[in-house]
Amino acid sequence: MQRIKYSELRSTKKLWSLVVLLAGFVAAAGATVLYIEHYGHIVTGMNNQIVWGVPHIFAIFLIVAASGALNVSSIGSVFGKQAYKPTARVSSLLAMALLMGGLAVLVLDLGRPDRLLIAMTQYNFKSIFAWNVLLYTGFLGIVAIYLYAQMARGVHVFALKTAGLVAFLWRLALTTGTGSIFGWLVARQGYDAAIMAPMFIAMSFSFGLAMFILVMIGTCTMTRRIYSPELRTRQARLLGIFVAVVLYFTAVQHLSNMYVSEHQEFEKFILLNGGIYTAVFWIGHVLLGSIIPLVLLFHPKLDRKRYLVILAAFLVVLGGFSQLYVIIIGGQAFPLEIFPGYEVSSSFSDGVINSYTPSILELILGFGGVALALLVTVLGMKFLRILPVNLSDDNVEPSALQ
Protein backbone atom coordinates (compact mmCIF):
# COMPACT_ATOMS: atom_id res chain seq x y z
CA MET A 1 0.00 0.00 0.00
CA GLN A 2 1.56 3.23 -1.15
CA ARG A 3 1.35 6.60 0.46
CA ILE A 4 -1.29 8.76 -1.19
CA LYS A 5 0.21 11.42 -3.40
CA TYR A 6 -1.51 14.60 -4.42
CA SER A 7 -0.67 16.81 -7.34
CA GLU A 8 -2.05 19.76 -9.21
CA LEU A 9 -4.07 19.18 -12.34
CA ARG A 10 -2.06 19.31 -15.52
CA SER A 11 -2.59 22.19 -17.89
CA THR A 12 -4.45 20.53 -20.72
CA LYS A 13 -6.67 22.01 -23.38
CA LYS A 14 -9.61 20.11 -21.92
CA LEU A 15 -9.06 21.74 -18.56
CA TRP A 16 -8.87 25.25 -19.94
CA SER A 17 -11.88 24.71 -22.17
CA LEU A 18 -13.81 23.69 -19.08
CA VAL A 19 -12.59 26.78 -17.24
CA VAL A 20 -13.62 29.02 -20.13
CA LEU A 21 -17.03 27.36 -20.28
CA LEU A 22 -17.61 27.80 -16.56
CA ALA A 23 -16.32 31.37 -16.67
CA GLY A 24 -18.78 32.02 -19.47
CA PHE A 25 -21.67 30.90 -17.27
CA VAL A 26 -20.38 33.06 -14.44
CA ALA A 27 -20.08 36.05 -16.75
CA ALA A 28 -23.61 35.51 -18.00
CA ALA A 29 -24.84 35.49 -14.42
CA GLY A 30 -22.88 38.69 -13.79
CA ALA A 31 -24.52 40.37 -16.74
CA THR A 32 -27.90 39.22 -15.47
CA VAL A 33 -27.23 40.76 -12.09
CA LEU A 34 -26.33 44.09 -13.64
CA TYR A 35 -29.52 43.96 -15.67
CA ILE A 36 -31.69 43.15 -12.67
CA GLU A 37 -30.01 45.79 -10.55
CA HIS A 38 -30.59 48.42 -13.18
CA TYR A 39 -34.20 47.71 -14.04
CA GLY A 40 -35.31 46.33 -10.71
CA HIS A 41 -36.78 42.96 -9.85
CA ILE A 42 -39.71 43.60 -12.14
CA VAL A 43 -37.72 41.84 -14.85
CA THR A 44 -37.68 38.64 -12.81
CA GLY A 45 -40.62 36.36 -12.16
CA MET A 46 -40.69 37.14 -8.45
CA ASN A 47 -43.38 39.44 -7.12
CA ASN A 48 -45.07 40.53 -3.92
CA GLN A 49 -46.73 37.15 -3.46
CA ILE A 50 -43.79 34.89 -4.31
CA VAL A 51 -40.91 36.90 -2.91
CA TRP A 52 -38.27 34.19 -3.02
CA GLY A 53 -37.84 32.24 -6.24
CA VAL A 54 -35.43 30.23 -8.31
CA PRO A 55 -32.30 32.11 -7.20
CA HIS A 56 -33.08 31.19 -3.62
CA ILE A 57 -33.60 27.55 -4.53
CA PHE A 58 -30.16 27.47 -6.10
CA ALA A 59 -28.58 29.47 -3.29
CA ILE A 60 -29.98 27.31 -0.51
CA PHE A 61 -29.13 24.12 -2.37
CA LEU A 62 -25.53 25.24 -2.81
CA ILE A 63 -25.20 26.39 0.80
CA VAL A 64 -26.74 23.20 2.18
CA ALA A 65 -24.58 21.08 -0.13
CA ALA A 66 -21.53 23.07 0.92
CA SER A 67 -21.94 22.15 4.53
CA GLY A 68 -22.55 18.53 3.59
CA ALA A 69 -19.61 18.34 1.24
CA LEU A 70 -17.38 18.85 4.25
CA ASN A 71 -18.69 15.58 5.65
CA VAL A 72 -16.10 13.47 3.92
CA SER A 73 -13.33 15.42 5.62
CA SER A 74 -15.10 15.21 8.93
CA ILE A 75 -15.56 11.48 8.68
CA GLY A 76 -11.82 11.29 8.14
CA SER A 77 -10.59 13.64 10.87
CA VAL A 78 -13.33 13.67 13.44
CA PHE A 79 -14.56 10.12 13.19
CA GLY A 80 -11.22 8.61 12.30
CA LYS A 81 -12.24 6.62 9.24
CA GLN A 82 -8.90 6.33 7.51
CA ALA A 83 -10.36 5.37 4.18
CA TYR A 84 -11.88 8.79 3.71
CA LYS A 85 -8.74 10.75 4.43
CA PRO A 86 -7.34 10.79 0.88
CA THR A 87 -10.42 12.59 -0.37
CA ALA A 88 -10.53 15.03 2.52
CA ARG A 89 -8.82 17.85 0.63
CA VAL A 90 -11.32 17.68 -2.22
CA SER A 91 -14.07 17.72 0.35
CA SER A 92 -12.82 20.88 2.04
CA LEU A 93 -12.20 22.69 -1.24
CA LEU A 94 -15.60 21.71 -2.56
CA ALA A 95 -17.27 22.88 0.63
CA MET A 96 -15.73 26.34 0.27
CA ALA A 97 -16.48 26.48 -3.45
CA LEU A 98 -20.13 25.49 -3.08
CA LEU A 99 -20.61 28.02 -0.31
CA MET A 100 -19.08 30.76 -2.43
CA GLY A 101 -21.42 29.89 -5.26
CA GLY A 102 -24.45 29.85 -3.00
CA LEU A 103 -23.58 33.10 -1.29
CA ALA A 104 -22.93 34.78 -4.63
CA VAL A 105 -26.41 33.92 -5.85
CA LEU A 106 -28.03 34.90 -2.57
CA VAL A 107 -26.27 38.24 -2.28
CA LEU A 108 -26.68 39.20 -5.91
CA ASP A 109 -30.41 38.66 -5.74
CA LEU A 110 -30.83 41.21 -2.96
CA GLY A 111 -32.85 44.30 -3.77
CA ARG A 112 -29.85 46.39 -2.78
CA PRO A 113 -26.70 44.30 -3.23
CA ASP A 114 -24.70 47.52 -3.00
CA ARG A 115 -25.60 47.54 0.67
CA LEU A 116 -23.83 44.27 1.40
CA LEU A 117 -21.41 46.15 3.60
CA ILE A 118 -24.32 47.21 5.80
CA ALA A 119 -25.43 43.59 6.03
CA MET A 120 -21.96 42.65 7.17
CA THR A 121 -21.58 45.38 9.76
CA GLN A 122 -25.06 46.00 11.19
CA TYR A 123 -26.66 43.03 12.81
CA ASN A 124 -29.99 42.38 14.43
CA PHE A 125 -29.08 39.32 16.44
CA LYS A 126 -32.65 38.27 16.90
CA SER A 127 -32.67 37.39 13.24
CA ILE A 128 -31.37 34.00 12.16
CA PHE A 129 -30.41 35.67 8.88
CA ALA A 130 -27.96 37.87 10.72
CA TRP A 131 -26.45 34.84 12.42
CA ASN A 132 -26.25 33.13 9.05
CA VAL A 133 -24.16 35.97 7.64
CA LEU A 134 -21.63 35.31 10.38
CA LEU A 135 -21.92 31.55 10.11
CA TYR A 136 -21.40 31.56 6.35
CA THR A 137 -18.39 33.86 6.33
CA GLY A 138 -16.94 32.12 9.35
CA PHE A 139 -17.34 28.79 7.60
CA LEU A 140 -15.16 29.98 4.75
CA GLY A 141 -12.46 31.04 7.15
CA ILE A 142 -12.59 27.91 9.26
CA VAL A 143 -12.56 25.54 6.31
CA ALA A 144 -9.64 27.47 4.82
CA ILE A 145 -7.71 26.90 8.03
CA TYR A 146 -8.79 23.26 8.02
CA LEU A 147 -7.63 22.81 4.44
CA TYR A 148 -4.32 24.38 5.33
CA ALA A 149 -3.97 21.97 8.24
CA GLN A 150 -4.74 19.11 5.90
CA MET A 151 -2.20 20.19 3.33
CA ALA A 152 0.69 21.66 5.26
CA ARG A 153 3.60 19.56 6.38
CA GLY A 154 4.46 19.24 10.01
CA VAL A 155 1.01 20.04 11.28
CA HIS A 156 0.43 18.27 14.56
CA VAL A 157 -2.32 15.69 14.48
CA PHE A 158 -4.00 17.39 17.38
CA ALA A 159 -4.23 20.65 15.48
CA LEU A 160 -5.73 18.89 12.50
CA LYS A 161 -8.28 17.07 14.62
CA THR A 162 -9.23 20.28 16.40
CA ALA A 163 -9.67 22.14 13.13
CA GLY A 164 -11.76 19.27 11.86
CA LEU A 165 -13.93 19.23 14.95
CA VAL A 166 -14.46 22.99 14.88
CA ALA A 167 -15.35 22.82 11.19
CA PHE A 168 -17.76 19.96 11.84
CA LEU A 169 -19.55 21.72 14.70
CA TRP A 170 -19.59 24.99 12.78
CA ARG A 171 -21.26 23.36 9.82
CA LEU A 172 -23.91 21.81 12.04
CA ALA A 173 -24.65 25.29 13.38
CA LEU A 174 -24.67 26.69 9.86
CA THR A 175 -27.11 24.12 8.53
CA THR A 176 -29.32 24.49 11.58
CA GLY A 177 -29.33 28.20 10.87
CA THR A 178 -30.27 27.63 7.25
CA GLY A 179 -33.14 25.32 8.15
CA SER A 180 -34.30 27.73 10.80
CA ILE A 181 -34.74 30.44 8.19
CA PHE A 182 -37.91 28.58 7.37
CA GLY A 183 -38.52 26.77 10.58
CA TRP A 184 -38.80 29.96 12.59
CA LEU A 185 -41.43 31.64 10.42
CA VAL A 186 -44.66 31.47 12.39
CA ALA A 187 -46.73 33.13 9.70
CA ARG A 188 -46.91 30.40 7.09
CA GLN A 189 -48.45 26.96 7.32
CA GLY A 190 -45.69 25.35 5.32
CA TYR A 191 -42.99 26.54 7.69
CA ASP A 192 -43.13 27.10 11.42
CA ALA A 193 -41.79 23.63 12.18
CA ALA A 194 -38.90 22.79 14.48
CA ILE A 195 -38.15 19.77 12.32
CA MET A 196 -36.85 22.04 9.56
CA ALA A 197 -33.46 22.41 11.21
CA PRO A 198 -32.61 18.68 11.59
CA MET A 199 -34.20 18.00 8.23
CA PHE A 200 -31.85 20.48 6.62
CA ILE A 201 -28.93 18.80 8.34
CA ALA A 202 -30.01 15.49 6.82
CA MET A 203 -30.45 17.22 3.45
CA SER A 204 -26.96 18.66 3.72
CA PHE A 205 -25.49 15.21 4.28
CA SER A 206 -27.34 13.93 1.25
CA PHE A 207 -26.83 16.80 -1.22
CA GLY A 208 -23.26 17.42 -0.14
CA LEU A 209 -22.17 13.86 -0.61
CA ALA A 210 -23.97 13.62 -3.95
CA MET A 211 -22.13 16.74 -5.20
CA PHE A 212 -18.89 15.37 -3.81
CA ILE A 213 -19.27 12.05 -5.62
CA LEU A 214 -20.17 13.80 -8.87
CA VAL A 215 -17.18 16.13 -8.62
CA MET A 216 -14.79 13.31 -7.70
CA ILE A 217 -15.93 11.07 -10.53
CA GLY A 218 -15.95 14.00 -12.92
CA THR A 219 -12.49 15.29 -12.14
CA CYS A 220 -10.93 11.86 -11.89
CA THR A 221 -12.39 10.88 -15.24
CA MET A 222 -11.29 14.12 -16.85
CA THR A 223 -7.74 13.86 -15.51
CA ARG A 224 -7.55 10.07 -15.86
CA ARG A 225 -6.78 9.62 -12.19
CA ILE A 226 -8.05 6.66 -10.28
CA TYR A 227 -10.95 6.97 -7.94
CA SER A 228 -10.91 3.72 -6.01
CA PRO A 229 -14.03 1.77 -6.98
CA GLU A 230 -14.20 0.28 -3.49
CA LEU A 231 -14.10 3.70 -1.89
CA ARG A 232 -16.56 5.03 -4.40
CA THR A 233 -18.95 2.21 -3.66
CA ARG A 234 -18.54 2.81 0.04
CA GLN A 235 -19.32 6.48 -0.36
CA ALA A 236 -22.23 5.69 -2.66
CA ARG A 237 -23.75 3.42 -0.04
CA LEU A 238 -23.33 6.16 2.53
CA LEU A 239 -25.20 8.47 0.19
CA GLY A 240 -27.99 5.90 0.12
CA ILE A 241 -28.24 6.03 3.89
CA PHE A 242 -28.43 9.82 3.83
CA VAL A 243 -31.13 9.78 1.17
CA ALA A 244 -33.15 7.43 3.35
CA VAL A 245 -32.75 9.75 6.33
CA VAL A 246 -33.98 12.72 4.30
CA LEU A 247 -36.98 10.72 3.15
CA TYR A 248 -37.68 9.86 6.77
CA PHE A 249 -37.56 13.50 7.87
CA THR A 250 -39.78 14.52 4.95
CA ALA A 251 -42.31 11.89 5.96
CA VAL A 252 -42.26 13.01 9.58
CA GLN A 253 -42.55 16.67 8.55
CA HIS A 254 -45.64 16.09 6.47
CA LEU A 255 -47.24 13.62 8.84
CA SER A 256 -46.81 16.02 11.75
CA ASN A 257 -48.16 18.90 9.73
CA MET A 258 -51.18 16.86 8.71
CA TYR A 259 -52.04 16.30 12.33
CA VAL A 260 -52.52 20.03 12.82
CA SER A 261 -56.01 20.41 11.47
CA GLU A 262 -55.49 24.06 10.62
CA HIS A 263 -52.60 23.06 8.37
CA GLN A 264 -54.47 20.28 6.58
CA GLU A 265 -55.45 22.51 3.68
CA PHE A 266 -51.79 23.22 3.08
CA GLU A 267 -50.84 19.56 3.26
CA LYS A 268 -53.63 18.66 0.87
CA PHE A 269 -52.30 21.35 -1.45
CA ILE A 270 -48.77 19.98 -1.47
CA LEU A 271 -49.59 16.29 -1.43
CA LEU A 272 -52.76 16.10 -3.51
CA ASN A 273 -54.15 19.00 -5.46
CA GLY A 274 -51.41 21.58 -5.82
CA GLY A 275 -50.76 20.92 -9.49
CA ILE A 276 -47.10 21.48 -10.15
CA TYR A 277 -46.14 21.37 -6.48
CA THR A 278 -47.72 17.95 -6.03
CA ALA A 279 -46.05 16.68 -9.18
CA VAL A 280 -42.65 18.01 -8.21
CA PHE A 281 -43.02 16.60 -4.71
CA TRP A 282 -44.01 13.07 -5.65
CA ILE A 283 -42.12 12.65 -8.90
CA GLY A 284 -39.17 14.98 -8.38
CA HIS A 285 -38.48 14.60 -4.69
CA VAL A 286 -39.87 11.22 -3.68
CA LEU A 287 -39.57 9.09 -6.81
CA LEU A 288 -36.61 10.45 -8.72
CA GLY A 289 -34.83 12.02 -5.80
CA SER A 290 -35.25 9.35 -3.17
CA ILE A 291 -36.70 5.99 -4.17
CA ILE A 292 -34.80 5.39 -7.40
CA PRO A 293 -31.45 6.45 -5.90
CA LEU A 294 -32.13 4.17 -2.93
CA VAL A 295 -32.67 1.25 -5.27
CA LEU A 296 -29.57 2.12 -7.27
CA LEU A 297 -27.36 2.68 -4.25
CA PHE A 298 -28.42 -0.26 -2.13
CA HIS A 299 -28.69 -2.88 -4.81
CA PRO A 300 -25.78 -5.29 -4.28
CA LYS A 301 -24.77 -5.32 -7.94
CA LEU A 302 -25.88 -1.96 -9.28
CA ASP A 303 -24.03 0.26 -6.84
CA ARG A 304 -20.73 -0.94 -8.24
CA LYS A 305 -21.42 0.37 -11.70
CA ARG A 306 -19.91 3.79 -12.11
CA TYR A 307 -22.50 5.18 -14.48
CA LEU A 308 -25.31 4.13 -12.16
CA VAL A 309 -23.61 5.82 -9.24
CA ILE A 310 -23.37 8.96 -11.36
CA LEU A 311 -27.04 8.63 -12.22
CA ALA A 312 -28.00 8.11 -8.60
CA ALA A 313 -26.00 11.11 -7.43
CA PHE A 314 -27.44 13.25 -10.19
CA LEU A 315 -30.96 12.17 -9.27
CA VAL A 316 -30.28 13.05 -5.64
CA VAL A 317 -29.28 16.54 -6.76
CA LEU A 318 -32.43 16.78 -8.87
CA GLY A 319 -34.43 15.56 -5.90
CA GLY A 320 -32.80 18.20 -3.77
CA PHE A 321 -33.84 20.96 -6.13
CA SER A 322 -37.34 19.50 -6.21
CA GLN A 323 -37.53 19.39 -2.44
CA LEU A 324 -36.38 22.99 -2.15
CA TYR A 325 -38.82 24.04 -4.86
CA VAL A 326 -41.70 22.55 -2.90
CA ILE A 327 -40.48 24.05 0.37
CA ILE A 328 -39.64 27.53 -0.87
CA ILE A 329 -42.12 28.14 -3.67
CA GLY A 330 -44.86 25.82 -2.48
CA GLY A 331 -44.71 27.36 0.96
CA GLN A 332 -45.33 30.79 -0.55
CA ALA A 333 -47.85 29.75 -3.17
CA PHE A 334 -50.37 28.68 -0.60
CA PRO A 335 -52.28 31.75 0.61
CA LEU A 336 -51.89 33.04 4.14
CA GLU A 337 -54.73 32.09 6.40
CA ILE A 338 -55.52 35.48 7.92
CA PHE A 339 -59.25 34.92 8.38
CA PRO A 340 -59.86 31.30 9.28
CA GLY A 341 -63.31 30.13 8.30
CA TYR A 342 -63.79 32.77 5.62
CA GLU A 343 -63.42 32.82 1.86
CA VAL A 344 -61.19 35.78 1.18
CA SER A 345 -60.64 37.93 -1.88
CA SER A 346 -58.84 41.20 -2.44
CA SER A 347 -56.76 43.16 -4.92
CA PHE A 348 -53.59 41.78 -3.34
CA SER A 349 -54.11 38.08 -4.09
CA ASP A 350 -55.56 37.14 -0.75
CA GLY A 351 -57.20 33.74 -0.63
CA VAL A 352 -55.84 32.55 -3.97
CA ILE A 353 -53.02 30.21 -4.85
CA ASN A 354 -50.15 32.41 -6.01
CA SER A 355 -48.53 31.52 -9.29
CA TYR A 356 -44.88 31.81 -10.15
CA THR A 357 -43.23 31.66 -13.52
CA PRO A 358 -39.48 31.96 -13.19
CA SER A 359 -37.81 34.16 -15.76
CA ILE A 360 -34.76 33.01 -17.69
CA LEU A 361 -32.72 35.59 -15.80
CA GLU A 362 -33.23 33.80 -12.52
CA LEU A 363 -32.15 30.50 -14.04
CA ILE A 364 -29.02 32.10 -15.50
CA LEU A 365 -28.21 33.55 -12.11
CA GLY A 366 -28.75 30.21 -10.40
CA PHE A 367 -26.64 28.27 -12.87
CA GLY A 368 -24.02 30.98 -12.63
CA GLY A 369 -23.71 30.15 -8.96
CA VAL A 370 -23.21 26.47 -9.71
CA ALA A 371 -20.66 27.40 -12.36
CA LEU A 372 -18.83 29.62 -9.90
CA ALA A 373 -18.63 26.76 -7.42
CA LEU A 374 -17.29 24.38 -10.04
CA LEU A 375 -14.88 27.02 -11.35
CA VAL A 376 -13.42 27.58 -7.89
CA THR A 377 -13.12 23.81 -7.45
CA VAL A 378 -11.35 23.28 -10.76
CA LEU A 379 -9.00 26.22 -10.28
CA GLY A 380 -8.31 25.12 -6.74
CA MET A 381 -7.38 21.69 -7.98
CA LYS A 382 -5.27 23.20 -10.74
CA PHE A 383 -3.14 25.38 -8.50
CA LEU A 384 -3.11 23.37 -5.30
CA ARG A 385 -2.37 19.75 -4.51
CA ILE A 386 -5.89 18.69 -3.84
CA LEU A 387 -6.72 15.70 -6.02
CA PRO A 388 -5.02 12.41 -5.13
CA VAL A 389 -3.05 10.76 -7.89
CA ASN A 390 -2.95 7.16 -6.78
CA LEU A 391 -6.23 6.56 -5.03
CA SER A 392 -6.53 2.94 -6.17
CA ASP A 393 -8.16 0.13 -4.25
CA ASP A 394 -4.78 -1.07 -3.03
CA ASN A 395 -3.94 2.26 -1.48
CA VAL A 396 -7.13 2.74 0.44
CA GLU A 397 -7.07 1.67 4.05
CA PRO A 398 -8.45 -1.88 3.83
CA SER A 399 -9.90 -2.20 7.31
CA ALA A 400 -12.54 0.37 6.48
CA LEU A 401 -13.67 -1.35 3.33
CA GLN A 402 -15.68 -4.29 4.49
Binding site: G40, I42, N47, Y123, F129, L336, I338, E343, V344, S346
Partner: protein, 247 residues
Amino acid sequence: MFEKKIKGADFHRREFLKKGAALASVTLASGVTLMALSQGAAASANPDIRWGLLIDANKCPSDCSACISACSNEHGWENTGLDTDPQWIRKVTLKDKNTGHETSLPLMCQHCEKPPCVDVCPTGASFKRADGIVLVDRHICIGCRYCMMACPFKARSFVHEKIEGQKTSSPRGKGTVEGCNMCVHRLDAGEGTTACTQACETSGNGAMIFGDLNDSNSEISLALANYPSVELRDDLRLNLGVRYKNI
Protein backbone atom coordinates in the same frame (compact mmCIF):
# COMPACT_ATOMS: atom_id res chain seq x y z
CA MET B 1 -38.97 95.92 60.24
CA PHE B 2 -42.17 95.32 58.39
CA GLU B 3 -42.63 91.67 59.18
CA LYS B 4 -43.12 90.05 62.47
CA LYS B 5 -41.00 87.05 63.03
CA ILE B 6 -42.97 84.17 61.60
CA LYS B 7 -43.90 81.63 64.16
CA GLY B 8 -43.66 77.85 63.76
CA ALA B 9 -46.98 76.77 62.26
CA ASP B 10 -47.34 79.91 60.17
CA PHE B 11 -43.87 79.40 58.80
CA HIS B 12 -44.59 75.87 57.75
CA ARG B 13 -47.93 76.81 56.25
CA ARG B 14 -46.35 79.58 54.24
CA GLU B 15 -43.58 77.33 53.03
CA PHE B 16 -46.07 74.65 52.11
CA LEU B 17 -48.19 77.12 50.18
CA LYS B 18 -45.15 78.44 48.35
CA LYS B 19 -43.90 75.00 47.47
CA GLY B 20 -47.35 73.84 46.59
CA ALA B 21 -47.88 76.78 44.30
CA ALA B 22 -44.52 76.18 42.70
CA LEU B 23 -45.28 72.49 42.20
CA ALA B 24 -48.71 73.22 40.79
CA SER B 25 -47.41 75.78 38.35
CA VAL B 26 -44.65 73.44 37.19
CA THR B 27 -47.15 70.64 36.66
CA LEU B 28 -49.57 72.89 34.90
CA ALA B 29 -46.83 74.42 32.81
CA SER B 30 -45.57 71.06 31.60
CA GLY B 31 -49.14 70.01 30.94
CA VAL B 32 -49.72 73.15 28.93
CA THR B 33 -46.46 72.58 27.08
CA LEU B 34 -47.38 68.97 26.29
CA MET B 35 -50.72 70.07 24.97
CA ALA B 36 -49.01 72.65 22.82
CA LEU B 37 -46.63 69.99 21.52
CA SER B 38 -49.36 67.55 20.67
CA GLN B 39 -51.41 70.17 18.96
CA GLY B 40 -49.03 72.02 16.76
CA ALA B 41 -45.30 71.54 17.19
CA ALA B 42 -43.37 68.46 16.01
CA ALA B 43 -43.45 65.63 18.54
CA SER B 44 -40.74 63.02 18.84
CA ALA B 45 -41.52 59.32 19.21
CA ASN B 46 -43.04 59.26 22.65
CA PRO B 47 -42.78 55.90 24.42
CA ASP B 48 -45.86 56.73 26.48
CA ILE B 49 -48.00 56.72 23.37
CA ARG B 50 -49.06 53.65 21.49
CA TRP B 51 -50.74 54.51 18.20
CA GLY B 52 -53.55 52.22 17.19
CA LEU B 53 -56.44 51.82 14.80
CA LEU B 54 -59.92 50.42 15.29
CA ILE B 55 -61.88 49.38 12.22
CA ASP B 56 -65.59 48.63 12.27
CA ALA B 57 -66.30 46.14 9.50
CA ASN B 58 -70.02 46.87 9.67
CA LYS B 59 -69.48 50.47 8.68
CA CYS B 60 -67.22 49.56 5.77
CA PRO B 61 -69.21 49.28 2.51
CA SER B 62 -67.85 46.84 -0.03
CA ASP B 63 -67.79 49.40 -2.81
CA CYS B 64 -65.88 52.08 -0.90
CA SER B 65 -62.11 52.32 -1.14
CA ALA B 66 -61.57 55.86 0.11
CA CYS B 67 -58.88 54.71 2.51
CA ILE B 68 -56.95 53.02 -0.30
CA SER B 69 -57.07 56.10 -2.54
CA ALA B 70 -56.10 58.36 0.33
CA CYS B 71 -53.07 56.25 1.22
CA SER B 72 -52.12 56.03 -2.44
CA ASN B 73 -52.22 59.78 -2.82
CA GLU B 74 -50.49 60.49 0.44
CA HIS B 75 -47.54 58.24 -0.19
CA GLY B 76 -47.39 58.14 -3.95
CA TRP B 77 -47.88 54.43 -4.65
CA GLU B 78 -50.28 52.87 -7.10
CA ASN B 79 -51.61 49.37 -7.57
CA THR B 80 -52.62 48.78 -11.18
CA GLY B 81 -53.28 45.08 -10.70
CA LEU B 82 -49.80 43.71 -11.43
CA ASP B 83 -48.41 41.24 -8.93
CA THR B 84 -45.34 43.43 -8.60
CA ASP B 85 -47.30 46.57 -7.69
CA PRO B 86 -47.17 47.74 -4.10
CA GLN B 87 -50.20 47.71 -1.88
CA TRP B 88 -49.79 49.28 1.53
CA ILE B 89 -53.49 48.91 2.37
CA ARG B 90 -56.08 46.79 0.64
CA LYS B 91 -59.78 46.09 0.84
CA VAL B 92 -60.50 42.49 1.67
CA THR B 93 -63.89 40.88 1.06
CA LEU B 94 -64.78 38.14 3.50
CA LYS B 95 -67.47 35.52 3.02
CA ASP B 96 -68.25 33.22 5.91
CA LYS B 97 -67.89 29.67 4.60
CA ASN B 98 -70.65 28.38 6.81
CA THR B 99 -73.23 31.14 6.80
CA GLY B 100 -72.52 32.95 3.56
CA HIS B 101 -72.45 36.33 5.31
CA GLU B 102 -70.27 38.83 3.47
CA THR B 103 -68.31 41.69 4.91
CA SER B 104 -65.44 43.88 3.81
CA LEU B 105 -62.66 45.68 5.61
CA PRO B 106 -59.33 47.37 4.95
CA LEU B 107 -56.18 45.42 5.78
CA MET B 108 -52.76 47.00 6.33
CA CYS B 109 -49.72 46.52 8.50
CA GLN B 110 -51.06 45.61 11.92
CA HIS B 111 -48.20 47.26 13.82
CA CYS B 112 -47.73 44.32 16.15
CA GLU B 113 -46.23 44.79 19.55
CA LYS B 114 -44.05 41.74 18.84
CA PRO B 115 -43.55 42.07 15.10
CA PRO B 116 -42.18 38.97 13.36
CA CYS B 117 -40.82 41.24 10.62
CA VAL B 118 -38.64 43.05 13.15
CA ASP B 119 -37.36 39.78 14.55
CA VAL B 120 -36.22 38.46 11.20
CA CYS B 121 -34.69 41.55 9.63
CA PRO B 122 -30.92 40.88 9.38
CA THR B 123 -29.84 44.51 9.47
CA GLY B 124 -32.44 45.89 11.84
CA ALA B 125 -34.02 47.99 9.11
CA SER B 126 -37.46 46.75 10.06
CA PHE B 127 -37.95 48.24 13.48
CA LYS B 128 -40.59 49.29 15.94
CA ARG B 129 -40.52 52.91 17.05
CA ALA B 130 -41.02 53.87 20.66
CA ASP B 131 -44.61 54.87 19.97
CA GLY B 132 -45.50 51.49 18.49
CA ILE B 133 -45.24 52.22 14.77
CA VAL B 134 -43.49 49.47 12.82
CA LEU B 135 -41.37 50.99 10.08
CA VAL B 136 -38.76 50.13 7.50
CA ASP B 137 -35.56 52.14 7.70
CA ARG B 138 -34.99 52.23 3.98
CA HIS B 139 -31.49 53.55 4.42
CA ILE B 140 -30.29 50.19 5.64
CA CYS B 141 -32.82 47.87 4.04
CA ILE B 142 -30.91 45.47 1.80
CA GLY B 143 -34.02 44.17 0.05
CA CYS B 144 -33.75 40.55 1.19
CA ARG B 145 -37.55 40.26 1.57
CA TYR B 146 -37.29 38.07 4.63
CA CYS B 147 -39.73 40.36 6.46
CA MET B 148 -42.23 39.76 3.68
CA MET B 149 -41.89 36.01 4.25
CA ALA B 150 -42.36 36.49 7.97
CA CYS B 151 -45.38 38.78 8.00
CA PRO B 152 -48.60 36.91 8.80
CA PHE B 153 -50.64 39.60 7.07
CA LYS B 154 -48.69 40.08 3.85
CA ALA B 155 -48.50 43.72 4.83
CA ARG B 156 -45.30 44.59 3.05
CA SER B 157 -44.47 45.22 -0.58
CA PHE B 158 -41.17 45.15 -2.39
CA VAL B 159 -40.37 47.95 -4.81
CA HIS B 160 -39.67 46.17 -8.09
CA GLU B 161 -38.82 49.11 -10.31
CA LYS B 162 -37.32 52.57 -10.31
CA ILE B 163 -39.58 55.21 -8.83
CA GLU B 164 -39.79 58.80 -9.94
CA GLY B 165 -41.87 61.67 -8.66
CA GLN B 166 -42.00 60.55 -5.04
CA LYS B 167 -44.02 62.55 -2.57
CA THR B 168 -41.66 64.78 -0.61
CA SER B 169 -42.86 63.40 2.71
CA SER B 170 -42.79 59.77 1.67
CA PRO B 171 -39.45 58.73 0.23
CA ARG B 172 -39.53 55.37 -1.48
CA GLY B 173 -37.14 53.66 -3.86
CA LYS B 174 -36.29 50.55 -5.88
CA GLY B 175 -34.94 47.55 -4.10
CA THR B 176 -36.31 48.24 -0.64
CA VAL B 177 -39.36 46.98 1.21
CA GLU B 178 -42.23 49.23 2.27
CA GLY B 179 -45.51 49.13 4.10
CA CYS B 180 -48.02 51.16 6.05
CA ASN B 181 -46.18 53.54 8.39
CA MET B 182 -49.28 55.03 10.02
CA CYS B 183 -48.53 58.28 8.18
CA VAL B 184 -45.67 58.86 10.58
CA HIS B 185 -44.84 62.19 8.94
CA ARG B 186 -48.29 63.44 9.87
CA LEU B 187 -48.07 62.15 13.41
CA ASP B 188 -44.70 63.72 13.97
CA ALA B 189 -46.07 67.01 12.70
CA GLY B 190 -48.79 66.78 15.35
CA GLU B 191 -51.73 66.08 13.07
CA GLY B 192 -52.79 63.09 15.17
CA THR B 193 -54.44 61.11 12.40
CA THR B 194 -53.68 59.11 9.29
CA ALA B 195 -54.69 59.71 5.70
CA CYS B 196 -56.87 56.61 5.61
CA THR B 197 -58.75 57.47 8.79
CA GLN B 198 -59.30 61.00 7.61
CA ALA B 199 -60.62 59.82 4.26
CA CYS B 200 -62.96 57.39 5.98
CA GLU B 201 -64.38 60.21 8.10
CA THR B 202 -64.77 62.44 5.06
CA SER B 203 -66.54 59.72 3.14
CA GLY B 204 -69.20 59.64 5.81
CA ASN B 205 -68.73 55.99 6.77
CA GLY B 206 -66.60 56.62 9.83
CA ALA B 207 -65.43 53.02 10.02
CA MET B 208 -61.94 53.86 11.27
CA ILE B 209 -60.83 55.40 14.52
CA PHE B 210 -57.19 56.29 15.03
CA GLY B 211 -55.62 57.30 18.31
CA ASP B 212 -53.48 56.61 21.31
CA LEU B 213 -54.17 53.20 22.81
CA ASN B 214 -52.34 54.13 25.99
CA ASP B 215 -54.55 57.12 26.67
CA SER B 216 -57.62 55.76 28.41
CA ASN B 217 -59.60 58.86 27.49
CA SER B 218 -58.95 58.81 23.78
CA GLU B 219 -61.80 58.03 21.42
CA ILE B 220 -60.22 54.76 20.40
CA SER B 221 -59.63 53.55 23.95
CA LEU B 222 -63.18 54.33 24.92
CA ALA B 223 -64.49 52.53 21.85
CA LEU B 224 -62.31 49.50 22.62
CA ALA B 225 -63.42 49.47 26.22
CA ASN B 226 -67.10 49.66 25.38
CA TYR B 227 -67.41 47.35 22.40
CA PRO B 228 -65.96 43.91 21.65
CA SER B 229 -63.12 43.86 19.16
CA VAL B 230 -60.69 41.26 17.86
CA GLU B 231 -57.14 41.02 16.60
CA LEU B 232 -56.43 39.14 13.43
CA ARG B 233 -54.49 35.90 13.94
CA ASP B 234 -54.73 36.33 17.69
CA ASP B 235 -53.41 32.78 18.01
CA LEU B 236 -49.97 34.21 17.24
CA ARG B 237 -50.18 36.47 20.31
CA LEU B 238 -48.50 39.39 18.62
CA ASN B 239 -50.59 42.04 20.39
CA LEU B 240 -51.55 44.12 17.38
CA GLY B 241 -52.03 47.85 17.20
CA VAL B 242 -54.88 47.42 14.74
CA ARG B 243 -58.13 45.90 15.93
CA TYR B 244 -61.37 45.03 14.18
CA LYS B 245 -64.96 45.20 15.27
CA ASN B 246 -67.83 43.12 13.95
CA ILE B 247 -66.01 40.36 12.16
